[in-house]
């Protein structure tokens, strides 16, 4: 079903100052139905990893396999949820959720029914005809999630999906996500820079090093499910937090971004 195997995955790309290694030799296996979070310092390549799995980027070496099949092109078996929502502003909520279904060639009536079902599942049934600009950030991301789930992917790839939301909403959205996940138990790969979020959501947390990104720890999280919001105060939770923080602190200090200014964004 939703089994992901990453073998010796690397990505390097050419820059004026020579080759830049973004990801170095990633080996990872994810079982069907696992909720895996990836946490690491800024610029460590965790988003790049998702893009490789989504096949929006091609690896320099290594392979991505879904259920044993080699992944070479984007498709609805791996659905992306973006940090900045990436909703089409000229489409209503319903039309946005239909997007993936349209691209799969599903006929209009069926599309409509599936979309409505998923819009209702994320709790936005009353907003089918609204436009993105009329919704709050949390609501917009719920549309993004509905859009991704509507195509019934094997794997859900979430790229810092709550990064643009404020701290309180983020926690609520996290528990919302878990509620939705419990219903279908899809494989989820969730990238974040928030350690608490990574632990709270996961069956397993992968810790990545600073660039070039490597996996430095693969930590099973055996906290109870379902996870109440206040589990963050549990001693077990705190132990995980401490462990990951220690690992990351070393990486953040060692990484370029501590000593040098960020590479400027191209305007």
């Amino acid at each position: 079903m939703g089994r992901l195997d990453l073998e010796h995955l690397s990505l390097a790309y050419a820059q004026r100052s020579g080759a830049f290694l973004a990801l170095a030799d990633i080996d990872l296996s994810i079982r069907d139905g696992e909720f895996v979070t990836i946490v690491g310092p800024s610029g460590c390549g965790k988003s790049t990893l998702l893009m490789l799995i989504a096949a929006l980027l091609a690896p320099t070496s290594g392979s991505v396999r879904l259920d044993g099949r080699l992944v070479t092109a984007p498709g609805s078996d791996r659905a992306l949820v973006f940090q900045d929502f990436a909703l089409l502003p000229w489409r209503t909520v319903l039309a946005n959720v239909e997007l993936g279904l349209e691209l799969k060639g599903i006929p209009a009536q069926k599309r409509n029914a599936i979309a409505r079902e998923h819009v209702a599942m994320v709790g936005l049934g009353a907003f089918e005809r609204s436009y993105p600009h009329q919704l709050s950030g949390g609501m917009r991301q719920r549309v993004g999630i509905a859009r991704a789930l509507a195509v019934e992917p094997e794997v859900l790839l979430m790229d810092e999906p709550f990064g643009a939301l404020d701290a309180q909403i983020r926690q609520v959205m996290g528990s919302e996500l878990l509620r939705i996940w419990e219903r279908g138990r899809k494989t989820i790969l969730f990238v974040t820079h928030d350690i608490d979020e990574a632990i709270y959501l996961a069956d397993r947390t992968i810790v990545m090093s600073a660039s070039p990104g490597r996996i430095i720890a693969d930590i099973p999280v055996t906290l109870q499910r379902p996870r109440p919001l206040d589990i963050r105060n549990d001693p077990a939770f705190t132990a995980y937090r401490q462990r990951i923080w220690d690992l990351l602190q070393r990486e953040v200090m060692a990484s370029n971004s501590w000593e040098q200014p960020q590479r400027a964004a191209v305007s």
Binding site: R16, G43, S47, T48, R263, S267
Partner: protein, 276 residues
């Protein structure tokens, strides 16, 4: 201004530093391809016109155009007419700036006054200014006065409108800051409103140049004794493409030089506002 290549978006690594390298190479590619396209065009033009593949008095060719340019300059034909056009332009444009800024300020400060004159402003703004040429000539004669009036009419409207918007859109926070430090009303105007409105006014002046040139040429083409527009009219009935191209280049350069000059002034006076 960077140009995201749509097809490349999905190939470039996420949040990449490689974009900076490719930006420079894009600029280079843009210059090279553009240059080659223009060069190819000129070469093709030279071949087709120079060898009479199409009648050269219909389309001319680059070397003939350059030759004609020198001829017309040497004979004084270009120079004397250009001087007249320039005079008419200045006679109309300078008053347009003065009146435009004054009126725009008045309208910004008194909404009532604005509403009284609004129909006139809107009518002059949305209608083709060229249509007024015959009436202006009937009223003000065939000499330089009517041309100056056309320039004035064409230029004053964008200046009024942009001055108005400039003043009304001065950031509240700038005014508040001045007030907070104890500025009087006239000081607020001097230190916050005028500088704040300046970029908008300059944009209005720049827009006015384009319109004014059109008004001037149209008026001169309609009827005049001298002027670039008259030259254009004369040659339009003579099937002398070379001369026409020279005049096109002259008029185009005139507009271009003026706008570039204005941009420089804008940069000197109000450097914080310059758009790329």
């Amino acid at each position: 201004m960077s140009v995201p290549d749509i097809s490349a978006v999905t190939q470039a690594p996420v949040g990449s530093g490689s974009s900076r390298a490719s930006l420079a190479s894009h600029r280079f590619a843009r210059a090279v391809v553009g240059f080659m396209a223009v060069a190819l065009f000129l070469i093709a033009w030279q071949i087709v016109g120079g060898n009479e593949i199409i009648r050269s008095d219909l389309i001319s060719y680059p070397s003939e155009v350059v030759e004609t340019l020198f001829q017309m300059s040497a004979s004084g034909e270009l120079g004397s007419n250009l001087v007249v056009s320039l005079q008419e332009f200045i006679q109309g444009f300078l008053p347009a700036i003065a009146v435009g800024i004054a009126a725009g300020t008045a309208f910004a400060l008194s909404r009532r006054l604005h509403y009284l004159f609004e129909p006139l402003i809107v009518a002059l703004n949305t209608s083709p200014i060229i249509a007024f040429v015959p009436i202006v000539v009937v009223w003000f004669g065939v000499g330089t006065q009517s041309k100056a009036i056309m320039v004035f009419l064409a230029a004053v409207i964008p200046i009024v409108i942009n001055t108005m918007t400039g003043i009304t859109q001065v950031h509240e926070s700038w005014i508040r800051a001045c007030r907070a430090f104890g500025a009087s009303k006239s000081q607020v105007i001097l230190k916050a409103i005028l500088p704040g409105a300046l970029p908008s006014v300059m944009v209005g002046v720049r827009l006015a140049v384009g319109r004014a040139v059109v008004g001037l040429i149209a008026a001169e083409m309609y009827v005049s004794v001298r002027g670039i527009g008259r030259l254009i009219q004369v040659y339009s009935t003579s099937e002398r493409a070379a001369e026409i191209f020279v005049l096109v280049a002259v008029v185009a350069s005139f507009g271009f030089v003026l706008v570039t000059l204005l941009r420089r002034i804008e940069g000197a006076i109000a450097p914080w506002s310059l758009e790329p």
